[in-house]
């Protein structure tokens, strides 16, 4: 009797499936509790990986709820690669579709923010553009330039105060989040990812630049949406986050 790895895998992920026949204890008796060691290792290690990746989601719904939800998620979405630091990519969509959590509609965006922080942490190092190079460029050439961002940079645009929610759960003394939408920029100036909420219009500006718009066109889009768009403040966030690597004048 051979035990195929497909059968082994199926039983690992589905507690209702009995342990495969052909697995035994030293007396030749069917190994049920022994098989459960492997079952438990898989479930616990994947749950731990999700807890490490999504600490704010765990705090928002409570540790016990998080474990229960992780148990459902890991069976629907087992990892597709051995890089556990990136496990959980489908969690935002999973949370959006998970019926018992529909009363917390901001969870998917918070999960997206936590994913962005992980990716920023592990992203490639890139030398930032010195602010002097940027400031030295004549305005007409700047308006025609495109900006390339460091691989550490992520923009999360949400109808919910995701940065405020994140800070409320992770930082001592952070205020209760105000009900509002937020555009949050994730950067990594050195080794630790940073979060910054962009000024009104900043999300439109950065999103346009990320899509490859010229600087002038991105500025137009932002000021059209928000006439008092604060370019200086938004550039300040980008430079503080070492977010810009290249001014592309092609």
């Amino acid at each position: 009797m051979t035990v195929a790895q497909a059968e082994f895998t199926q039983a690992l992920l589905d507690p209702a499936t009995p342990a495969p026949a052909g697995l035994t204890n030293p007396d030749g008796v069917q190994a049920t509790k022994r098989f459960n060691v492997y079952r438990n290792n898989v479930a616990v290690s994947l749950t731990d990986a999700l807890e490490t990746a999504f600490p704010v989601i765990a705090k928002l719904i409570g540790a016990e709820n998080f474990k229960a939800i992780a148990g459902v998620y890991l069976r629907q979405h087992p990892p597709s690669s051995p890089l556990m630091m990136f496990y959980g990519a489908e969690l935002p969509d999973f949370l959006a579709g998970f019926e018992p959590l529909q009363h917390l509609p901001y969870l998917p965006d918070v999960a997206q923010l936590e994913l962005a922080l992980r990716h920023a942490y592990h992203a490639a190092d890139a030398a930032p553009l010195p602010p002097e190079t940027f400031q030295a460029l004549p305005p007409d050439r700047l308006m025609a330039a495109r900006i390339r961002f460091a691989p550490t940079v992520h923009l999360i645009r949400s109808r919910y105060p995701v940065h405020g929610i994140w800070a409320y759960k992770m930082e001592d003394g952070a205020p209760k989040p105000e009900p509002r939408g937020e555009n949050v920029l994730v950067t990594r100036p050195d080794f630790d990812p940073q979060l910054a909420t962009l000024a009104p219009g900043g999300g439109t500006f950065v999103a346009a630049l990320m899509d490859g718009a010229r600087f002038g066109a991105a500025l137009d889009a932002a000021t059209e949406q928000v006439p008092e768009f604060d370019l200086t403040a938004t550039l300040g966030v980008l430079f503080a986050g070492a977010a810009i690597t290249i001014l592309d004048e092609d």
Binding site: V3, L12, D27, R34, S81
Partner: protein, 286 residues
């Protein structure tokens, strides 16, 4: 002697090492004790940059590094994950570690990675498959690897080869070396009710390039038989230290790693565990 074109550390010393944890970075550099080399889990350093790789580059200037893979699924029925093999080749290429090792186990099925070291039946068919995979790995990374004996919790009725013979035959066919995890020997022998010193005595110790020591948890199965679980979450128990001393007396000094992966203690406690291996190794050198 060493110069800029020579990898600084081309082998692990016959001395204690530890599994590196990022929280120990500063304490380890300030006070390594007997710790003479470090092991990393390959998968944790397969990001593109940031602190993990910066720390690793820094450590690699001071310590020989062992790259220990936990995700290649060498025992898998399917083909090896080509993307993962390429990542491994990249890591080994730039880091030029003193050693590379992986497990006699599987962890991926049908593109699902299960994040555990799952057991194999010991048959001619699985032997041939594992050897093919090891040939492919050694070809890809361009170096000899070490293969680690597993902790097992159950047996396959279909197995018709002893684990020691299975590992020795893999080494013979592929030219790979072996990583002997003495705690795994103790855990498996207890769980399978076989003789741990007998396993060591039958093991081809001349092929062993590294030894692992770690902690385990104690449980029992539904028949009341002891069931030890390889948790890497506590000190190495005295019977495993005794089995280790037996191994070193027979096989001579070997690079010896303390693995502590869950409930990781503060640095002084881990360092003290590593320090315990030093006199055992020194006695064998005397």
């Amino acid at each position: 002697m060493l110069d800029a074109t020579t990898p600084r550390f081309d082998r692990l010393p016959d001395a204690p090492g530890v599994g590196y944890k990022p929280q120990h970075f500063s304490d380890l550099l300030a006070d390594p004790g007997a710790v003479s080399w470090l092991e990393i889990h390959a998968e944790n350093y397969m990001g593109d940059g940031g602190r993990p790789l910066a720390q690793l580059r820094h450590l690699a200037e001071r310590f020989p590094i062992s790259v220990h893979g936990v995700g290649l699924s060498i025992g898998g029925e399917g083909a090896l994950d080509a993307d993962h093999l390429a990542r491994l080749k990249h890591l080994i290429g730039w880091l030029q570690p003193a050693s590379f090792s992986e497990h006699l186990a599987w962890s991926t099925h049908d593109s699902h990675f299960l994040n555990d070291l799952l057991p194999l039946p010991y048959t001619e068919a699985t032997l041939a498959r594992v050897c093919d995979h090891i040939d492919e790995v050694q070809e890809a990374v361009g170096r000899r690897m070490l293969l680690e004996n597993p902790s097992t919790y159950l047996a396959f009725a279909e197995s018709d080869l002893a684990e020691v013979d299975f590992l020795a035959e893999i080494a013979h066919r592929t030219g790979c070396g072996l990583l002997l995890d003495v705690n795994n020997v103790f855990v498996s022998a207890t769980n399978q009710q076989t003789d741990a010193p007998g396993y060591i005595d039958a093991f081809p110790l001349h092929l062993v390039g590294e030894i692992h020591l770690g902690g385990h948890d104690e449980d029992a199965d539904e028949t009341g038989a002891p069931l030890l679980i390889d948790s890497h979450g506590r000190e190495v128990v005295d019977p495993v230290w005794a089995l280790y001393a037996h191994t070193i007396r027979r096989g001579g000094p070997k690079p010896t790693l303390i693995e502590w992966d869950t409930d990781v203690p503060d640095w002084p406690i881990l360092r003290a565990e590593a320090d315990r291996a030093a006199p055992v190794l020194q006695a064998a050198l005397a």
